[in-house]
Symmetry: C2
Subunit: 333 residues, 2 copies
């Protein structure tokens, strides 16, 4: 195994976020399930956008947020995701590169526009996402550069990649290359509705060793094992994957490995503003700890710290240097 060029390379749906504060009534009037991510087509995107209030825009996408968070901690990172060569695609490219992330995926020259997620943030800080995949639909195995994958200590993949038609092949190709190069593969389950769509395939990925590390929140874990009992689900998770990390919002996280279980508390916050990116940034901190060899408990604390930063402002990307934030809180970076 040669030395790594990147600590973490992420692959995901490249999505531009259009965020607006709203009330519960808006969700009800539009038949949205609060807290979830719904895939929408162009017509529904137009209808939702038409009714939405004035918005704030910024680059997003689950795995991309995680990778930007890792870069903010000081990790060497790369991202693979499909945009269109349009104005929003150029904003997207700027933001991820400006964060210090290597981003070389060839933009689509035709077809749908760069993907957008219409994110409604209710007064309690909860976000409800409506995602038009757009150009993210066009990600194929051809976008996976074997050299870059093999040069990354960890390849990080999002469950959302099961939605676009060819991205799962890109996912499996990346995992195979990574493992052949002696690297690790991590997966986030993304969303409980996503788990519901692809439960069997996700379990196969875990049991067949396509992924070594799984991130899930409680809802995703319960959906995966179709049980409302946390301990039952956790026991199954430990049996199915080398390392499982379950986030539990204010209750902190649980790190489950063959060796045992570690519990890490959440990080205190002043005010919950917008949960968008909470899970993504938790994964950033945890993966940073992992690549720096801090051990699971410190990794969990780094994850909790990054999640706490991102939920205290609008948007899914850090607004401050996570490296400095970790230093100020006595955590190793």
């Amino acid at each position: 195994m040669t030395s790594a060029k990147y600590d973490v390379l992420g692959i995901g749906n490249a999505i531009f976020d259009v965020l607006v504060k709203t009330d519960e009534g808006f969700l009800g009037a539009h038949g949205m399930t609060k807290g979830g991510m719904a895939l929408i087509d162009e017509a529904r995107a137009a209808a939702i956008y038409q009714d939405m209030g004035p918005a704030t825009e910024m680059s997003g996408g689950s795995a991309a947020n995680t990778i930007v968070g890792l870069a903010s901690f000081g990790a060497r990172t790369a991202y693979v995701g499909k945009i269109r060569d349009d104005q929003i695609g150029r904003l997207y490219t700027h933001d991820i590169r400006a964060a210090g992330v290597a981003f070389q995926t060839r933009p689509a020259k035709d077809g749908p526009a760069t993907g957008c997620s219409y994110i409604l943030v209710t007064p309690d800080g909860e976000r409800t996402m409506n995602t038009y995949l757009g150009a993210a639909q066009e990600l194929t195995p051809g976008d996976i550069d074997p050299t870059e994958i093999a040069a990354s200590s960890i390849v990080y993949l999002e469950g959302y990649l099961w939605d676009p038609k060819n991205a799962k092949d890109a996912f499996v190709k990346a995992s195979t290359i990574a493992h052949n190069a002696g690297r690790q593969v991590a997966l986030t389950l993304s969303d409980s509705f996503c788990v519901d769509r692809y439960r069997g395939e996700f379990l196969d990925l875990m049991r067949g060793g396509t992924v070594d590390l799984v991130f899930a929140n409680e809802a995703e874990l319960h959906s995966l094992y179709q049980t409302s009992d946390f301990d039952t689900a956790l026991t199954q998770l430990r049996a199915d994957v080398k390392l499982g990390v379950v986030t539990r919002s204010a209750k902190g996280c649980v790190v489950a490995s063959k060796d045992g279980i570690a519990m890490v508390p959440a990080f205190p916050i002043r005010e919950m503003v917008d949960t968008t990116g909470a899970g993504d940034l938790f994964a950033a901190g945890f993966l940073f700890g992992l690549v720096r060899g801090t051990g699971h408990e410190i990794a969990g604390r780094l994850g909790a710290l990054a999640a706490a930063e991102v939920i205290q402002h609008i948007g899914a990307r850090p607004q401050t240097s996570l490296k400095q934030l970790a230093q100020q809180n006595g955590l190793p970076v």
Copy 2:
């Protein structure tokens, strides 16, 4: 004089804001004058953007921010400004209409893209703007609809309109129509460097009665009369315009009319985050008071309240209902 369809109609450069937190070093390295608005061409826009960190985007433009602020107070409003029919132009159109503003200016079908301002926000909250006018260059007198102008109690114009080549003709056309219909015309001086470019013309507008009300901050007032003495400048302002309103940041504002001078304190804030939009939102509150006939002191307090809201978060548009905010603070709306 028929009854008004709009309380305030604003005309300005339609600009999409690209905001980033940065340090003083960035301004120095790029030869930027802190706190100002510099006009940049496409090449310099590309160079600045290339070096900027990951950004947050939202609709902006000085007069547009004021009009959105007025709508947030509950006023009936319209806006005239030129965008291109591109992705950013569509975001722009959505945001201003979603705020409740009538916006019917025909977008440019070719030529430069929708204008953008690259806004650097330093740790002290001060913003430094670099504006690529883009499609805003294409505003002409043909974009001024006489019926809409004549149906607006106040026409609000920004000094920045002196920069694009044909916008000043649109400005004068609008003022003439407004006055013929018995309406009032307000002008913001926009920026001390802008005043420096067009001092003589701005004074002609005031002395010739093309404008009835002028908004200025201290730097703009000093630039207009080329004096460092505030009282001297204020005396001249009173002689040159029916109503002059001078904002003085934390020192509040001074309202100067033929009848006398009123001083209104600033509104207390918890934390200064980003001054972008402070003057624009002050004008929104003041104009709202004016159209509701509150008297100058209450109008000044409404302006101070709106300015205080906008400087406590990133971006130049209100993030909360100004109507509700005013009610919570015992001000009439």
